[in-house]
Symmetry: C2
Subunit: 146 residues, 2 copies
DNA sequence: GTAATACCTAAACCTGACTTTAGGTCAAGG
DNA sequence: CCTTGACCTAAAGTCAGGTTTAGGTATTAC
């Protein structure tokens, strides 16, 4: 069993964040002795999971739901899986969007490289969108696809 | 020349957002006739660029900077290019992080699929991290790599 | 015995990107 | 004439995810 300060050190998180997570219901099993939080293995594991779920872009209230389901037992396996499936689909489309934004950035870098060489944007502007060199054409099209 | 309401319709944005963008300095060249905003080609182009830059995760204050550079002329090409290069690097690392989070989600989906089949987590828990089947091992390792 | 720590709470504050509200101007329509 | 609708402003409100502050308790250190 660990105190909040020890856990904060272990995870490199501010104490205030742990208290905030607790208040948001992210540790449904957390125990206390005379008012003081006692973090056990369950909570350490929960924190590892929280770090993952946050990376996956999940909101606190969804993470709480997940933690509650974990505390409820095997009957919630399907709900938990469904939550991850939904997240997975969401992330896949986010990544696709970001890759398009990335191609837009690649295009802009190329564009300004040309403009710097020419001293103006006239020539490079005239190439858009139909006379782009092969090397950049596909990037441009990907970036502007809807 | 268009009014704010017409532009809002064209871009599918609330009027309030356009006024907000203006207040944030995103249209440095915007003109007015007796107090009323007049959006011209420069502003429509700016809005297209703003949509791109927002997709690339840029903050309003950086977009403002960019717009100011655009208004300043060719001497700012290198700054503009550098901004896009920096954004590009940032996005690439974000995408890499998201792909790792995605592998974590794939792993969790697989994990709960096993748990549902078994009715408990005992067997699948025991497989982690050294006895995972080939099909999932790489995903697990990618997800947990630092 | 008192000062420094580590813990506790409730409540206020912060940031970013907007949105909403309250109050005002001006032109056109009935 | 007066209401409707499009425009304007400044200022306050909203949301998430924390952080900070103010005030209190309990243990240990000198």
């Amino acid at each position: 069993m660990y105190t909040i300060g020890q856990v904060a050190d272990m995870f490199g998180l501010p104490v205030s964040t742990l208290r905030y997570y607790d208040k948001q219901g992210l540790f449904p099993e957390l125990e206390r002795t005379s008012g003081i939080r006692r973090f056990g293995d369950t909570e350490l594991e929960a924190l590892r999971v929280i770090e993952c779920l946050k990376k996956a872009g999940m909101e606190i209230k969804d993470i709480r739901l997940f933690m509650e389901w974990c505390a409820e037992g095997p009957s919630t396996y399907p709900k938990r899986k469904a939550m991850f499936e939904e997240r997975k689909a969401h992330m896949e489309s986010e990544i696709a969007n970001m890759n398009r934004a990335l191609d837009m950035l690649r295009f802009k870098c190329w564009y300004y490289e040309q403009a710097i060489q020419d001293g103006n944007e006239d020539r490079v502007k005239a190439l858009i969108p139909d006379n782009l060199p092969e090397e950049i054409k596909e990037i441009y099209e990907n970036a502007h696809a809807r």
